[in-house]
């Protein structure tokens, strides 16, 4: 982003739910919810569903009856549809901007043309996106990305649609907790709250020295950016291009279960790093090295049509890939897992089962294969000796048609 230009954040409202509504106009003021892959938990809620008190990430089984009582329409996620709609929204944003940075499937930072009246331009952009794609968005404008993000949050919550945050109206930040600020997570917001800094406004106006003592230069940068001063704008965590975990074994491993167990450990390690950088993975590689005289390293790779962020899915896939390359009788001396092709994550499903932290500790208590069997039914995974069969399949019972990706599923327009 150019150094001195104000920045806009275009943020789609309830994106997945809104995508579904474009093609089912009956759902316009109706409660709509979208589930994560495997129909595990809620990843998108229309405003009506939010009002019912359904939290983001709620396990579906917990809110199923509440949703049914309120006649909510629940969808399995349809990534092909959401990617296509996202592409369309971003194309419109490009028409209105000098520069665009696509941050996630439903958010983009942009420097808008016509600096003279940004709110007006943003309003036109918002209307154009709604007309051309059917997707409602909120646009926040500020001097920094952090400000733009906060402004967009404000625009969303007060229904204005567009909001420009500046040093003149920083007080609106009183309505947000520090946890709502971009880049501030649970731990940091706890520390701030204990020191009496509870709202985003308080963070913006607090003494910089105090801020720095609480959270270092990173937090200070965030606070300054919130105030409108550009320091180090942009991604907080250095996003790696690939993450790998591997280990040479002390003594060779021959047994499939033991090898799978070792890989499960690597999945855990990789998953925590993925979570730290907020990524979903599009590509998974498993490799094993056997210590025969040839000393070969064999690897197998899988590309996901939908990026994954669920440790159980990753582990299941790793075990399934291992099955492809495992040779009974071989002496394995090293094994590892690698993930790549990252996309920013909106939500991490595994959190709902074990809580946001320490899942790896809890996973350590049971072998991963046990856990997969627990979650998906016993004997979902069996060792190679018994004949390996993966019974578990992606549940997507409530997926809408692929309205923009499959000729057989395009919407019908009635001539009657």
């Amino acid at each position: 982003m150019k150094k001195d230009s104000p920045v806009a954040l275009i943020d789609c409202n309830n994106f997945f739910a809104s995508c579904q509504r474009v093609f089912e106009p009956k759902l316009e003021n109706h409660p709509v919810a979208v589930l994560s892959s495997n129909d595990g938990c809620i990843v998108a809620r229309s405003n009506e569903v939010k009002k019912l008190g359904v939290p983001m990430g709620a396990p579906y089984f917990k809110v199923k009856s509440l949703l049914a009582e309120n006649n909510a329409k629940v969808f399995s996620s349809n990534f092909a549809l959401y990617s296509d709609m996202s592409r369309r929204v971003m194309e419109v944003v490009k028409l209105f901007s000098d520069e665009i940075e696509i941050y996630s499937i439903d958010e983009a930072f942009a420097t808008l043309h016509n600096k003279k009246d940004l709110v007006k331009t943003a309003g036109q952009l918002r209307n154009t996106i709604k007309k051309w794609t059917g997707i409602p968005v909120s646009i926040g404008i500020g001097k920094t990305k952090t400000q733009a993000k906060a402004a967009a949050l404000f625009a969303k919550s007060n229904g204005a649609g567009v909001y420009e945050l500046s040093s003149d109206n920083l007080e609106v930040l009183e309505s947000f907790s520090v946890n709502d600020v971009w880049g501030i997570g649970g731990g940091l917001s706890g520390r701030l709250e204990r020191r009496g800094i509870k709202t985003a406004y308080q963070l913006a106006v607090s003494n910089p020295a105090v801020i720095r003592r609480i959270g270092g230069i990173g937090l200070l940068s965030t606070a300054l950016e919130l105030r409108g001063m550009k320091s180090r704008d942009g991604n907080r965590v250095l996003v790696k291009k690939q993450i790998r975990s591997s280990r040479s074994f002390g003594s060779p491993i021959k047994n499939f279960d033991d090898l799978a167990g070792s890989l499960a450990y690597h999945c855990s390690a990789i998953y925590s790093k993925m979570r730290e950088q907020g990524s979903l993975a599009g590509r998974l590689t498993v490799f094993v090295k056997s210590g025969s005289y040839k000393d070969q390293s064999i690897f197998v790779e899988k590309k996901f049509p939908e990026p994954v962020g669920d440790i159980f899915v990753i582990t299941k896939e790793v075990v399934s890939l291992l099955e492809k390359i495992y040779k009974p009788g071989a002496n394995y001396i090293k094994a590892g897992v690698m993930v790549a092709d990252f996309q920013p994550a909106i939500y991490f499903e595994s959190d709902t089962l074990f809580g946001p932290t320490n899942y790896s500790k809890q996973l350590g208590l049971l072998s991963t294969i046990d856990k997969i069997n627990l979650k998906f039914g016993s004997n979902t995974l069996r060792s190679a000796r018994m004949g390996f069969q993966l019974v578990w399949e992606s549940k997507k019972g409530m997926q809408s048609p692929s309205y923009t990706g499959n000729w057989a599923e395009i919407p019908k327009a009635f001539c009657r």
């Binding site: 369309r88 007309k131 051309w132 000729w407 019908k412 001539c415």
Partner: protein, 126 residues
């Protein structure tokens, strides 16, 4: 000595016409605005007189302004319908093209909106 793949041969004289031929792209012909164009499938016979047959693919552009006389896909009572958009003074009518199908008079209170303008269709003979 390593082998070198033959990329193309350079000839003296005029280049062969094949190098300059561009493929005709139906998608480019039909989709003028990639962000706002959607495909829908027509079902029913009310627009036969307008040349829209059941099973035809409709190319629908949301970015175009519905003007009187244009064929549109409208949302009526939560469903997509194909009608001719007609403005008579202050009145808006969504007109069917064949006898036996009703026109819809649209009032400010009615639950209607225009999804997009039908710019072209694809009709399959086989």
């Amino acid at each position: 000595m390593t082998s070198c793949p033959l990329l193309y041969s350079v000839q003296a004289g005029f280049p062969s016409p094949v190098e300059y031929a561009e493929k005709l792209n139906l998608h480019e012909l039909l989709v003028k605005n990639k962000a706002s164009t959607f495909f829908m499938k027509a079902e029913g016979d009310s627009m036969v007189e307008a040349g829209i047959f059941s099973g035809d693919i409709l190319v629908v552009d949301r970015s175009l302004m519905p003007l009187s006389g244009l064929i549109v896909v409208a949302t009526v009572d939560g469903e997509f319908t194909v009608k001719r958009f007609v403005k008579k003074g202050r009145e808006t009518v969504l007109a069917a093209e064949s006898a036996g199908y009703r026109d819809i008079c649209v009032s400010p209170e009615s639950d209607f909106s225009v999804f997009g303008v039908v710019t072209s269709t694809v009709h399959f003979f086989r």
